[in-house]
Symmetry: C2
Subunit: 580 residues, 2 copies
């Protein structure tokens, strides 16, 4: 990973690719690389869909190696949704493959002269950029089928659906999983719209002939990897909860805690949520899928294996096992307790290339506006189909909750910096409220997952319903997360490294064994702080202020049942998150 592939989509005479040495970005991976490159090369006040924005796709520092869990990929750009810097990451196969091809990043630059749509093919031998009008307005599933037909069943795809082509702010970028299905998405912030603005429908990655990336110190690396895997298998969350039920194991937990945002954040409990819980989902999948229903990883090298397959009533593949946040977004948040309908919504989102969190929150706002009624599962399916068709209603919804609130005159819109809140009510999990408010990314649970100490009792214990201790908790998690997002490691490793010092040490040993460096825990913290600071500086230059580090006013006013709490962390405290 000593080179960067830059593709100038606006070059005179048509798109041009060139390979550069990694240069000043050497030693950076994932979010550290995407955010550094965006901060250095993208003017903060540029239009997100304009020629000056860049789309950066970067494997993690360890991606492409034999390190377990190292297959996450980062996407960076200026966000059409938030107007600030954006890093969205995903699992799937491309990260390991791009790492093995030797690229630290693929960067899409410039703006095409017309609306020609391109596919990009990257292998050891060549980079090909080809106009492909036959891909226009196809869904991700159809795009991947076409690429499989053209390039075989070993390649991986990075693609956008109709939403990205339409440059909608809710558009995601899809990464194919181990089954070559477009189910892993860099969902948040409208990164798919930026890929659409660059005129790239799909990037096909073929790592044939590329070996696994070799560690600098093979023995130390191998030893560390063993301890690493053992540590992950030992922890209750990464070794038992996630493999058994996937992320949806959280539904009953968060609902029980009274922090499950229900019907557009009106209540903290959803009375029929057991019907869409991970337990119910697993039972259904086991019954329908038979032998195929075992959980598995979303990329090679995963040992947590929280993924699964969702089969329809006839036992046919419908979509991957919907994640907790997706089940919440299209389920409880919309008053829907029909797991088949939720799975269909997940499938549609994946196919059209939409962020499931943004779409669920958006439909919740549309329901509050009376476009359809809360609980109307078929209505919700119809709404998402509007996005795929590109109707005016679909364009509103595909632009996210904030635009939908504007168009329908709704005041209660659960967004920060224009991005929808995920599946944890900030009144019921005050620590995650701090993260939503202050993250450089807009409302984002993965940016500093305070649910750990607030609800799960992982990494300490901080009372979820009180403001005390939340600033420090969120700050520390935001710093750690930023570092983890740079390694290519799945964020779920955090459960184990927060609770088990020896597993954190194994991770450090793994990194050091691979790179030959001598990174300490303090270095990890420093890396996280540095990248967060870069991101925050970008946002300040883009015009962000402390007034944007706030939840919408109504979270301070409306009490959330059943605990009847408001968000109580003071504005002045929120302003302290970045004072470290």
């Amino acid at each position: 990973m000593d080179k960067i592939l830059r593709i100038n989509m606006g070059a005179a005479g048509g798109p041009k690719a060139k390979t550069e040495a990694v240069g000043a970005y050497a030693g950076l991976g994932g979010r550290a690389l995407t955010s550094s490159l965006v901060a250095k090369e993208v003017p903060p006040t540029c239009h997100p869909l304009g020629e000056e924005n860049k789309l950066v796709i970067a494997p993690g520092l360890l991606s492409g190696s034999a390190a377990a869990m190292s297959g996450r990929i980062s996407v960076g750009c200026k966000s059409p949704l938030t107007g600030g810097i954006k890093e969205a990451n995903a699992g799937g196969q491309p990260s390991q493959m791009i790492g093995r091809l030797g690229y630290a990043a693929i960067v899409l630059e410039g703006k095409p002269a017309d609306d020609t749509l391109y596919r990009v093919f990257i292998s050891k031998e060549k980079v090909e950029i080809t106009p492909d009008p036959g891909l226009k307005m196809l869904g991700n599933y159809a795009v991947v089928e076409k690429m499989k037909a053209a390039y075989g069943d070993k390649v991986a795809c990075i693609s956008i659906g109709q939403a990205g082509e339409m440059k909608l702010s809710g558009a995601s970028i899809a990464f194919t999983d181990m089954e070559q299905r477009p189910t892993r998405h860099a969902g948040r912030g409208g990164v798919g719209a930026v890929m659409g603005a660059k005129g790239v429908k799909v990037i096909v990655v073929d790592d044939s002939g590329c070996p696994v990336r070799a560690p600098q110190n093979p023995e130390a690396f191998k030893e560390a990897n063993k301890a690493w895997v053992a540590g992950l298998r030992k922890h209750a969350v990464t070794g038992q909860g996630l493999p058994a039920y996937g992320t949806n194991v959280l539904t009953n937990v968060i609902n029980e805690a009274g922090a499950y945002p229900t019907k557009n954040f009106m209540w903290g409990r959803f009375d029929t949520c057991a019907k869409i819980s991970g337990e119910a989902q697993a039972e259904l999948e086991n019954a329908r899928g038979g032998a195929g229903s075992a959980t598995h990883g979303c990329h090679r090298g995963c040992v947590i294996r929280c993924s699964g397959t969702f089969y329809d009533k006839d036992g046919h593949y419908l979509t991957k096992q919907p994640e907790y946040e997706t089940v919440w977004a299209h389920g409880g948040n919309c008053g829907i307790d029909d797991i088949d309908a939720i799975a269909m919504l997940d499938r549609l989102d994946d196919d059209f290339g939409l962020d499931t969190i943004e779409m669920g929150a958006t439909i919740g706002v549309a329901m509050e506006a009376g476009v359809i009624q809360f609980g109307d599962a078929q209505g919700a399916i119809n709404l998402v189909k509007e996005v795929g068709k590109g109707t005016p209603l679909g364009r509103i919804l595909g632009s996210g909750a904030a635009v939908t609130g504007r168009c329908f005159g709704v005041e209660r819109v659960p967004v920060v910096k224009g991005q929808s809140m995920p599946a944890y009510d900030p009144r019921g999990v005050q620590g995650i409220g701090v993260t939503y408010a202050t993250s450089t990314q807009g409302a984002d649970h993965t940016a500093g997952y305070a649910v750990t100490a607030n609800i799960l009792g992982v990494g300490g214990k901080v009372d979820a319903l009180k403001p005390e201790g939340q600033i420090e908790l969120s700050r520390n998690l935001q710093i750690a997360t930023t570092a983890i997002d740079s390694t290519g490691m799945c964020l779920f490793i955090a459960f184990a490294i927060l609770d088990q010092p020896e597993t954190f040490q194994a991770l450090l040993d793994l990194i050091n064994g691979f790179t030959g460096a001598k990174m300490t825990g303090d270095d990890v913290t420093t890396l996280g702080k540095n990248i967060l600071k870069l991101e925050r500086d970008f946002n300040l230059k883009a015009g962000f202020t402390r007034q944007m580090d706030r939840l919408p006013d109504y979270f301070k006013r409306e009490k959330l049942p059943p605990h009847n709490v408001t968000f109580m962390v003071k504005d002045a405290e929120l302003d302290q998150v970045y004072n470290w």
Copy 2:
């Protein structure tokens, strides 16, 4: 005008009116009063459609007196379009009548518990607030007809159309003119959406039994008024140009200057603009309207008389004579040179309650997106009708150009702080570019009309195509305008007072004769500065930054034919506008 009428639409048990002494706001009128009240009483970070926002409707300091030209009315609130403070003003009859009823302001507060729609009737004897479901989703013309039937032909109406009821950010508030038609609009910033959020469809004003407001010094006032009227009649713009052709006298002038934004700000000249010029419009109106085509004022006491009536092909009333900015917005900006179509669009905007500038700019963006083709007049009419019908497409368009750009993935969206630029390209009139960029109001020509010295040779001469001198010009005009907007005087008086010192003195004498004060020219400047500072402080507290005091990037990059100029005023200079 020593009292304020406050109507709490969210009061327990239903809306409640109370009259208070003017108190701390004594001596303030128009924009000075609306902005002072909003700055003091509205939390800058509140939701514009929420209970904490207030809609303030205030006559000017001299409104209701016999002073010529004193019939403007100000509307203030936090804007749903810009997210900052908003003052939009209009002509029409209500200002004089509210002044005579003794109200310095009418303030709508709180938020109704449900979606009941109310009418408010205000007379010398009473204030009545009545649920009136029969008004739901009526256009302004139908609302006014109903009110005339109920209250007679002497009342004036302040109303919203369908757009305001839907709380769309492009919604205006209509004020009836001398013919009791809803043709004068506080158009900008979505003030109609705030009235809609308050649940008030119409305020009917009846000043029966209320005398003209008496001056403190009747003799001095009378003398000053004579000199005032004489000065206005003497100046070429206020005495000849505006009365002869209305504001549309500008079409040929601005086009000739190469600053006429054509087809979504692509060119500075529109080749067939003569067909929609004031001259062509006047000829048509004279031919169709016969004796009824004489120009007249939009309110009693006007001596400039720039208003007119537009008759359709059969000689029937269609709308008022469309203003220059409306003719541009729906005309040149959309490549449309059909004056009948433009008049129909004006009528539809007035009826649905939409800002004609925002709608024209929005349709230009939709045309750039390919929704319809540039030049498609019937297509444009159909688009505006979508807003009236409340379809999803209509909701996008009615939310303004910025939301339309988001939903259709368009980069070239001519807005500042979310508000569309009016009829002067900032590259061809660099002084107005400074006003667009830095005004507290978002892009707004009336906030500091640098077209005067840049193009018209009024109030000095500053080269329109160069950056030099524009900061000072815009700053001084913004200060003066803020003061004028506080008097209730029509802004067109600026032409005469900028060029004729004795006419400016007559204005001061008029104010002093009325109030008994001893205001000097310096005091006017101080008032303007103070109010601007209040407005800017509100915006800063709402989270505005200097990055929002900028034109979109493409104005610095794309050259505007025929002069092939970009906007050349530097960012650092823009930051000096408020350093006085």
